[in-house]
Amino acid sequence: MAEEKNILSVVDLHTTFATDKGEVMAVNGVSFNLAAGKILGIVGESGSGKSVSAYSIMQILEKNGSIKSGQILYKGEDITKWPESRMRDFRGKCCSIIFQDPMTSLNPVFTIGFQLKEAIKLHTNRTGKEVEKRAIEMLELVGVNEPEKRIHQYPFEFSGGMRQRVMIAMALACEPDILIADEPTTALDVTIQAQILELMKDLQKKLGMAIIMVTHDLGVIAQMADEIIVMYGGRVCERGTAEDIFYRPCHEYTKGLLRSIPNIDSMGKRLEPISGTPINLLNMPKGCAFCPRCDAAMKICLEQQPPETRTVDGHLASCWKAIQAEIEAGMIHVEAPGSGT
């Protein structure tokens, strides 16, 4: 599975949360590969398991959450088997994360400089003056003006966009190979969002790290991602390049999602929403998770989970409807479900 160029491979990941009402299956068998220096976008609605997948990689799940099965291979090694002490090294040095809300992810009682330096001291062997120099260097890199002055200020003296820059500086301070960005711009205004996205792209080019971009915003994903994974109900519906997903969607959910967003030329036309409400993760349907909301649902959708197959134009989707199209196109012979690609 782990080829040389894949820096991170997630294989059949299952993550669940124990709650009073039962076990919540947040992630149900997610697999993906992240190539070094690429941007992978994970898109889905709330409750689709996109953030939980990201947190599983970092192993920063809530106390009631656990990885039930599956592997997370970092450079070929399964990090789910690593002890906590080794994971601590992994976080920050190999893989960093930035969160949605820059307002709450910084500690209000310490200066920006203190928090930045803490991360640098923990994960690198710099000492004394070097640490401070590195902190200033990082702030400069993410476009904070007058970093020498700003590092003595507290988070409340920074605006939302500036705080997110500090978070990025902190995440990149130890030169990780992977940066996980969990809804990094959702709390920001559009003009500030454009600044931050541009910055992330620049830094990615400059430093060559791989980025996992988790978001619900199809616009952001279209702009940033090389490869896209569409998630629904804790499973991967469809994966492919940005062009595959936006111009040649095969899964009914992806199609519905794209139809339901207002576009430049949708003015005056009606939007076509997906009917119904998102699924309840407490009792997952036996078949396809999207089936209760799918207009094109067939009998088999209710009964069996669709395997992931190569679609007519070459990317991957898990949809019986797409499989039907492939059979019609003579691409595949009818095979036993679960046999995958």
Partner: protein, 326 residues
């Protein structure tokens, strides 16, 4: 307030030079006015949708709230159907002017059933003849927004975000208003649900002829739903135009950069388009720059911009722009 101001009888809602200042304590004895809204003028015709966009802190929500007098405006005139809206007349007018709030989680009382939430405006305005009539009206409203009759006895926490927003909309529709302020009414919803609610807003407008002031920060959504769009920056209105005109021919430098910053859900457009990235942040409204508030981030800014705020002037076909240089 300008007592001599005469509203245009064609307009359902007319706002002239609305100002809303909040006093902020800046010292032991001193207060500074925070100019949340500073001279905003616009009009909405019956059955029309005006979209109001701008970034956080630009005063768009304050405009909506001052309009239906949840705040008492510092200065300016608001007219509804030719009548001046003031402390006295608003009591009679609230029936016609309703509001849908952003957060479907906190805008509904968790101790009330759906029936009571939707029925409350009917109680307040005495809009039913008998208990049976009240119930019938409530069920009709629920049907209108796509809720089942059996939901009536449930509590708000039993519903998903999209359904809660429907309850909020049913409540706003209960008094049969002619005008609804929708303050970020779809922002908290997932895309697939958002589309359902946007469609519902449009259907209700066609069916009932209500006018909307649609306040949102998502430009694609606003462009979809609105006939006209007004753009605000730091309490001032910088541009208003028909939705398509604004999208294809933005004149104010702020509007231009705002539109270019919108991430279009289309990889080719998104990756190829030239983004005009604005430098820096929005200045604090407590220390507003002199003259045009946008000049600190504007690449066309001149001496004149620092001295005087440009007026909104018509550049043809009702495309109004407040800029010295464009």
């Amino acid at each position: 307030m300008n007592m001599n101001y005469k509203p245009n009888p064609e307009n359902l809602v007319e706002v002239n030079d609305l100002k809303m200042y909040f006093p902020i304590k800046t010292g032991l004895f001193s207060t500074t006015p925070l100019k949340a809204v500073d001279g905003v003028t616009f009009a909405i015709k019956p059955g029309e949708t005006l979209g109001l966009v701008g970034e956080s802190g630009c005063g768009k929500t304050t405009v909506g709230r001052a309009l239906i007098r949840l705040y008492k405006p510092t200065d300016g005139d608001v007219f509804f159907d030719g009548k001046r809206v003031d402390d006295k007349s608003i009591l009679g007018l609230r029936k016609d002017m309703q509001m849908v709030f952003q957060d479907p989680y906190s805008s509904l009382n968790p101790r009330m059933t759906v029936e009571d939430i939707i029925g409350e405006p009917l109680d307040v305005h005495h809009l039913y003849t008998s208990k049976a009539d009240r119930r019938e009206q409530i069920l009709h409203l629920m049907e209108l927004v796509g809720l089942n009759a059996e939901h009536a006895t449930r509590y708000a926490h039993e519903f998903s975000g999209g359904q809660r927003q429907r309850i909020g909309i049913a409540r706003a529709l209960a008094t049969n208003p002619r005008f609804i302020v929708c303050d970020e009414a779809v922002s908290a919803l997932d895309v697939s649900i958002q589309a359902q609610v946007i469609n519902m807003f449009e259907d209700l407008q066609k069916k009932l002829g209500v006018a909307y002031l649609f306040i949102a920060h998502d430009l694609l959504v606003v462009h979809h739903i609105s006939k006209r769009i007004a753009v605000m920056y730091l309490g001032k209105m910088v541009e208003t135009a028909d939705a398509d005109e604004l999208n294809s021919n933005p004149m104010h430098p702020y509007t231009t950069s705002l539109l270019s910053a919108v991430p279009y859900p289309d990889p080719k457009i998104a990756k190829s388009s030239k983004r005009i990235i604005l430098e820096g942040d929005v200045p604090s409204p407590l220390h507003m720059p002199s003259g045009c508030p946008f000049r600190t981030r504007c690449k066309y800014a001149t001496e004149q911009c620092a001295q005087e705020m440009p007026k909104l002037t018509d550049r043809g076909n009702g495309h109004m722009v407040a800029c010295w240089n464009k």
